[in-house]
Symmetry: D2
Subunit: 341 residues, 4 copies
Amino acid sequence: MKRVGIIGASGFAGAELMRLCAGHPEFEVVFASGDSQAGTPVGELYPSLTAAYPDMTLEPWEVIPAGLDIVFIALPHGASQAIVPKLDAAHILDLAADFRLDDPSLYPTWYGQEHTAPELLDDFAFGMPELFRDNLFGATAVAVPGCYVTTASLTLAPLVKAGLVEPTGIVVDAASGVSGAGRAAKPGTTFSAVDENFTAYGLLNHRHTPEMEMAIGRHAGTDVQLLFTPHLAPMNRGILATCYARPTGEETTEQLLAVMAEAYADEPFMVVSEAVPSTKATLGSNSVHVTVRKDERTGWVVAIGALDNLVKGAAGQGIQCANLAVGFDETTGLASAGMYP
Amino acid sequence: MKRVGIIGASGFAGAELMRLCAGHPEFEVVFASGDSQAGTPVGELYPSLTAAYPDMTLEPWEVIPAGLDIVFIALPHGASQAIVPKLDAAHILDLAADFRLDDPSLYPTWYGQEHTAPELLDDFAFGMPELFRDNLFGATAVAVPGCYVTTASLTLAPLVKAGLVEPTGIVVDAASGVSGAGRAAKPGTTFSAVDENFTAYGLLNHRHTPEMEMAIGRHAGTDVQLLFTPHLAPMNRGILATCYARPTGEETTEQLLAVMAEAYADEPFMVVSEAVPSTKATLGSNSVHVTVRKDERTGWVVAIGALDNLVKGAAGQGIQCANLAVGFDETTGLASAGMYP
Amino acid sequence: MKRVGIIGASGFAGAELMRLCAGHPEFEVVFASGDSQAGTPVGELYPSLTAAYPDMTLEPWEVIPAGLDIVFIALPHGASQAIVPKLDAAHILDLAADFRLDDPSLYPTWYGQEHTAPELLDDFAFGMPELFRDNLFGATAVAVPGCYVTTASLTLAPLVKAGLVEPTGIVVDAASGVSGAGRAAKPGTTFSAVDENFTAYGLLNHRHTPEMEMAIGRHAGTDVQLLFTPHLAPMNRGILATCYARPTGEETTEQLLAVMAEAYADEPFMVVSEAVPSTKATLGSNSVHVTVRKDERTGWVVAIGALDNLVKGAAGQGIQCANLAVGFDETTGLASAGMYP
Amino acid sequence: MKRVGIIGASGFAGAELMRLCAGHPEFEVVFASGDSQAGTPVGELYPSLTAAYPDMTLEPWEVIPAGLDIVFIALPHGASQAIVPKLDAAHILDLAADFRLDDPSLYPTWYGQEHTAPELLDDFAFGMPELFRDNLFGATAVAVPGCYVTTASLTLAPLVKAGLVEPTGIVVDAASGVSGAGRAAKPGTTFSAVDENFTAYGLLNHRHTPEMEMAIGRHAGTDVQLLFTPHLAPMNRGILATCYARPTGEETTEQLLAVMAEAYADEPFMVVSEAVPSTKATLGSNSVHVTVRKDERTGWVVAIGALDNLVKGAAGQGIQCANLAVGFDETTGLASAGMYP
């Protein structure tokens, strides 16, 4: 059994790591921190975890034992920059944005502050196995990308890499469940504000934009520019991204689908199909569903992808990367079957 | 009091007409049909209407009294073509698509069958007061446009008319609540299928596409071409359309907003603001909320609009048109305030 | 037009008063306060009200004009005790609990503090027209009861008054939508906490218990004792109360229903039927749906009632009482038809 | 690996069995039937299962291979009576009501028809491990009780058995998510009918009543009589039962909780706590949360329990029983941690 620590277990991504580790045959959570909740039993904050962790209490992160096999960090952006240099663990997986961007100059622009540990950026592998698996075998530090980035990148990357769509002028129009906004009670995340509501937010400058451009561009070997419009849908989980791009040639829907299917032929969590993806088909699983269409009338290529933002978009992808890092089968402890309904 | 008949009161749009007429100070529903439900008390099918219509029973449409002041038709597409020629009423308002398109040749393409009464198309005014009010004063026949068309048209028309965006290459990416799919129980509209789900449907060829192109184009005096992608959101009501267009010039967000605000300055139901529209702000009301942005980084213009699909997107717009047709103040009996939460 | 002021317009009940007054032909809101939001445009806090109140800003309650015709107070419990003595208005309607209980000694027990203006308790009429209408004609001060109390009282009172069920040993098991918890963001009212969840709260000692006992008991002329268990359902609005009582005689379901129907025969907002009430049938309306059953097998009488907690359970009932106080038809400006779906 | 067949995989309980078996380390689904869907790929009916069962197609049940280790039957009531006699399998687990009641005379009363295989009733163990585990080790036939029955029985049984509450006069007031009504599209299960709605149904004579009475009574060794009122809550999954009973003595809340805790001290899926159970804490898991209160004011004992109706209330309990039947650890392949949010 690998000894696992989770820093930030009081947030949704951290709690999801707790849930998934409880079902992982080779991971044992021996430490969980939640600074603002230190001293609180895990099951008091998350009754859903009472049966699995009847005796565990959240602690301050500083008392994490040294020498753990795996440490997941699931903190708000900016916090792990300060923590990582102090950690002593065989494998570190950071679920925040702190070590995702390879160009430190992007942080002031999109996150509003200088990176405080830019020298560590190169140490971190980008944790999206389907596009960058080679970097993950045995990795000691992984920056796990987030939900919107994973959805858009896995949906668009094969098409951009194959040169079938223009890498600029792309529109990513996406909708997310509310858990993406975190556990904290805010005026915009109350039930009364969200239920029976659909709205857009973060217009023009959502901070995950450059990660999408970087991930797709690095995979395809070209510069990518896209406009990302996130929406909030009245549901707990799930992201669906509907992406619009200009074709470079005359490929039909069938041909585009074939390229996607070929790209993901050996991926255990990718489902490529003519069926239109839906968030619900991925609920609770680590799977990603994608499709693509060519509109002969207007000339647009429309590619759509869906996943569970807390599993493949956060904790599940983190565990998938950890499995690769420690040498396990990458699917260990991860469900490919979604919960329905 | 105007004597009102509602053909198709068993569907959601018809039931919403019943609700709105119950609160209209000058309309009295004297007849309601629901062919498949003929003989059923209104309140048995819609308990929400029991208190307002304790003694009314749904009848077959054929027994509608002659000489009513106003008749609303709220039937599935294709049915009113056969009914309208037989109606004897001072003002007919059809909420279906049968008399919306001015070019009869579009019907086989988008609706799969020839129009059976093309000679009547010219008799019908297009019922979108904010863009085509002049045709509605005293109109004897009105084709009331539907929810997606009204949302996209009111969001985009001022920008296209002012020549600020290209009239082609437009993307309309929209999400709707489930009531847009009607009352009938179908595998895709069960709670278990819809709740906690977000998905796209009708890819590339949704039949409301040509109505959007016609409405915007006619208002702007130019040919419009757009790609429309509808999505299904887990909520009862509401439509939000996020529209992407290419700018023709260098106008900023402020300038685009000013053009929109000017276009709708005297409209009682239009709210133009920098605030991002949300479906919930329009719930139960006849109001439409719109905004616009220019993304200097990628060059896209993003315009967003929201409304209640059963009110401004159906029954409310029908009543607004009926008010104009009979000479009432256009806001009579219609709420501009939404129900929240 | 009656000049209306609303103290506490930033909360849900206050905002609902704003919505209903916007549609009331004889009420004009000339003042709206929201102390913690003073200076905020109404439409910024509630975009749903932008179209109806484009130019109104929330003010501190102290600047309320003197001599208004009607003042509604919609503040958290305890606040109106201090405000009422300072108000100069022809008719005051308080939607809080401050003046509902006739026995001041109940306040320390159920609300945890002494009443600071017990001498005013006798000035307030209890604002439930269906049970206590005589006190409301021309009333200068009305204590409008809340959602749970109105539901349980209107469901049980006719049966208790007629002596058909025992007045003690009653169980009121009720579920409410989340808006009953107010607008403030709290850990227990986030979408993530509430959606897909059903739970009980306030076990044994919910503070609305004595109001129910008082209202039913006063109407029936007997002492009532009941156990009230509220639940939270994942929806915005609506309350359904399922009440269990022991029969005193052998009356059948039909006989019990007949007594209920007779009791409410002339009530414009009461729907008595064998159909099982549902919250959705009352959404947005001032209607109350009730039914009753006798279980011959176990001997229990089961009575069920439903209403919209923000309309008949708060703002709508307030307006109904205000109509009676100023001498209007009691239904003026109130919908009996619910919004569906 | 045990070779598993699932008869009725097209329904929700069957699909949940598919999901759970996909994550079970020792169960392999080799056959899945869905008569009305025979010939349909599993992933076409349930896209959530595409990744886990990419190549499996639903078949008619008659072609089930002989000699399977385990066969689950998840059909509507009445169907398994005809199928069981024809099955050749080492262990049969029926999720319907066909073999749950020990007294065949109850079937005509509560299910409206005579049992066609009453001689098999004695062969079936009642599949509720927490109350009747001894019968399940090595069992060849198990009747797995359903969601309402499991919730009410596990909540009340320890109190009745300990003689702390009267076994008659009990009220079970429960709410369920919509998946309990099955996959079929019906007018009452559309999103538009269910969302934002809370209502009661099956008043007085819901057919699961005698199972509750039998399960609790058999465990406690006494005759039990209760009134069961189910409600429909606007959510996919989950059942919460709030139960009211008369105490026999003076035990306090603390004493009642202690008895419950003692009864379930060694149960891996039972969580006994003073915390109020919520359906969401059990989502996707096999756990059951229970609590109890004594109301000193009115004398009532209130006991509350919650679980996931498709897991512990159906498929999960089936797998728990199958584990016991074949000799595995009873928790194998079952999550005790719930999915949140």
